[in-house]
């Protein structure tokens, strides 16, 4: 019975292939024209708005810029020197490890909590729509406000969290001021901020699953749990994959939350590649543009690796 469900379930996830109509090569090339016509706005858009910042970041990372040459021009080409500076820096390995931990832990929790909530809210009950909307409120707040609120709550001496823990005889924990805890603190805040994103995407994904499939599964006598693993989860695969990928990309470049809460400190305890890049480029009276841009580009390369993985995965399902 289970295979039966799976077959039915996989129908809507199957991509549409026009090639099945067996067209002539001329029709195919005109199909290409149409396809690219639909893409034209976005291509124009990408070239107009992303090419320059990207080029600029690359340019900054390959020259030895000082503030003077930044303004007056004429920075000497320095090849990969900036990258070498970055790799040799004692901050590099901690920053890389923190980035991996911060991103990994954030993703796991955001996604699983988001998924659980999406399924919970999908069982329509009184107020479910309103409550779901309220879950988005954290997104409406400017980051400077939400991050400051978190550092308020996690303050060692006057924070509500330590007061609450004190009631149970725990603590006080130096959430933001101890190198052992600061990474955990910013990760918690980031998970909180990321939950609405996962909830909305996964919920919309659930909405697009036709209800007949559930009915069929229910007829087959599937339990809640097996229904989730055999029906919901496979059908949500495309949406889950994109949610995780986007989550990954956004988490990799998170810097404001960390910057506001701990400035990456103390003693680099919560420095990630993104905050490091910001600190090099902007967090000092004297900006070091080159190394800052180099760290930024490393992040872009990191995202490229995961992007490639995603596209390979997508191709495999499309085949």
């Amino acid at each position: 019975m289970a295979p039966h469900v799976t077959t039915r379930a996989s129908v809507p996830a199957m991509p549409e292939t026009e090639a099945g109509f067996g067209r002539t090569s001329r029709a195919r090339s005109s199909g290409q024209w149409t396809a690219w016509a639909f893409l034209a706005p976005v291509v124009v858009y990408l070239i107009a708005f992303y090419a320059y910042p990207l080029y600029r970041n690359l340019d900054l990372s390959l020259h030895r810029y000082t503030v003077r040459s930044f303004v007056q021009g004429g920075a000497p080409f320095s090849g990969l020197d900036n990258y070498r500076t970055v790799f040799d820096s004692p901050t590099f390995w901690p920053a890389l490890t923190h980035t991996a931990v911060f991103t990994g832990v954030s993703l796991v929790f955001q996604f699983s909590i988001g998924m659980a909530l999406a399924i919970f809210f999908h069982q329509h009950f009184r107020l479910s729509a309103t409550l779901r909307a309220l879950f988005l409120v954290p997104w409406l707040l400017p980051l400077i406000v939400s991050a400051s609120t978190w550092s308020w709550m996690l303050n060692s001496d006057s924070g509500i969290v330590n007061t609450a823990l004190g009631v149970f005889g725990i603590g006080p924990v130096n959430w933001l001021t101890s190198p052992d805890w600061s990474l955990a603190s910013v990760t918690i805040a980031n998970i909180w901020i990321g939950i609405p994103f996962n909830l909305v995407l996964l919920y919309s994904g659930l909405q697009s699953i036709p209800s007949e499939i559930y009915e069929a599964a229910a007829l087959d006598g599937a339990t809640h749990w097996s229904r989730f693993w055999r029906v919901t989860f496979p059908l949500l695969r495309p949406v889950s994959a994109i949610t995780l990928l986007l989550g990954l990309i956004y988490t990799l470049k998170v810097f404001d939350i960390i910057w506001i809460m701990t400035r990456g400190g103390p003693a680099d305890g919560s420095t990630t590649l993104a905050t490091w890049s910001y600190r090099l480029g902007f967090g000092n009276l004297l900006p070091s543009f080159g190394p800052g841009a180099a760290v930024g580009n490393l992040l872009i390369i990191l995202a490229m690796v995961f992007g490639l993985l995603y596209i390979r995965m997508q191709r495999r399902t499309l085949r």
Partner: protein, 423 residues
Amino acid sequence: MTSWNATRRRTHTGAAIALSACLAAACSTGTGSPTGSGSGSSGSSGTYAIWDPYPQFDDSADWVKLLQKCGTDVGVTIKRTGYDTTDLTNKALLAAQQGNSPDVLIVDNPVVSTLADAGVLTTTDEMKIDTSAVEPNLLAAGQLDGKTYGIPIGANTLALYYNKAVLTTAGVDPAEIKDWTSLTAALAKVKAAGKKGITFSAIGTEEGSFQFLPWFWGAGANLTQLDSAQGVSALQLWTDWLKNGYAPNSVINNTQTTSWQEFATGQFAFAENGTWQLANAKKTGFEYGIIPIPSSSGGTAPAPTGGEFVTAPVQTDTGRYATSQKLIACLTNADNAYTTDTTLSYIAATDTVQAKQVADNSELKVWVEAVKAAKGRTSDNLGTKYPKISEPMWTGFQAALSGAKSPQDAFGAAQATAAAATK
């Protein structure tokens, strides 16, 4: 059917291209609204751009009215823009890169040497600005290699605020605090009386360095040698305060505002904070006093100067300088400086105006003295080397305060980084 489809498709292709073209057109024409005139000097010759780091003031504020008045006096229109101070350096650099600098730029004093080094600013000689009345220790922050790049609009610095009631309970006489030993002894008494000792800001940014410097300089240390015995002793002082519970652990993450909020609860005996908190001090509802920050072996420690400089960025059209010079003269003349410094809660940069301030408000006397003893961060001809020392320094004290390293190791590492960066 195929050909029919193909035609249709072609039509749609055309439509889609037209759509995207019109989008692109909208991008270039739709945004060119009249409000969007550049912020720089490219406008009509009668409009002069002034940038300042006071976004808290809107058009109804005295500061902005003063700018407009100076414009009217000189006979030009002022286009004023207030930016967040952390953002202003980058903005100024970018604008200069695009050849679009404002005519007058008001900028935080430690940034002046960076901008001067970038070739963004004119010297006061070129602009024929008279800086002779300005206190030399304040002007020093704007000097690089013997040239001066601006004129301070006013100054502020740090001192110790104390809570009278808390000190009375603990049996401490603030007049007896002359050096570090007596200060630490006072903190011990306060703690024994069940109150909290001292709060300051040791955050990992320039703000933290600003707050650490009075202790660092007060120990007799020099920024060129962070790990000297004196430098380490200053860090040892802070670290011991934390270890003994004289200062809260939260100082590691405190901004000066957060630290002030802690003091405002009325639980703390002392707070290291700036001139600008005077107005807030009156709102706390308890009696307070102010003493200068003591140096290690007695006497007043040199605190760093804060406050902004009025500068004139380089323009391609040098004909504009004459008017900019008049505007700067207007902003910094004695009467206007008095108004501005009162609005900002700053101390004036010249002797005459300082005297007037003290005459009107005797409370400012201690601050005027503190400002006279103060020292620019970029002074000693450190210039753009200062930021390269300041960052390792704050990384160092953060490491020591959070317990990651001993003071000696923390500043040893900091000195190594600073030496490599400034060589």
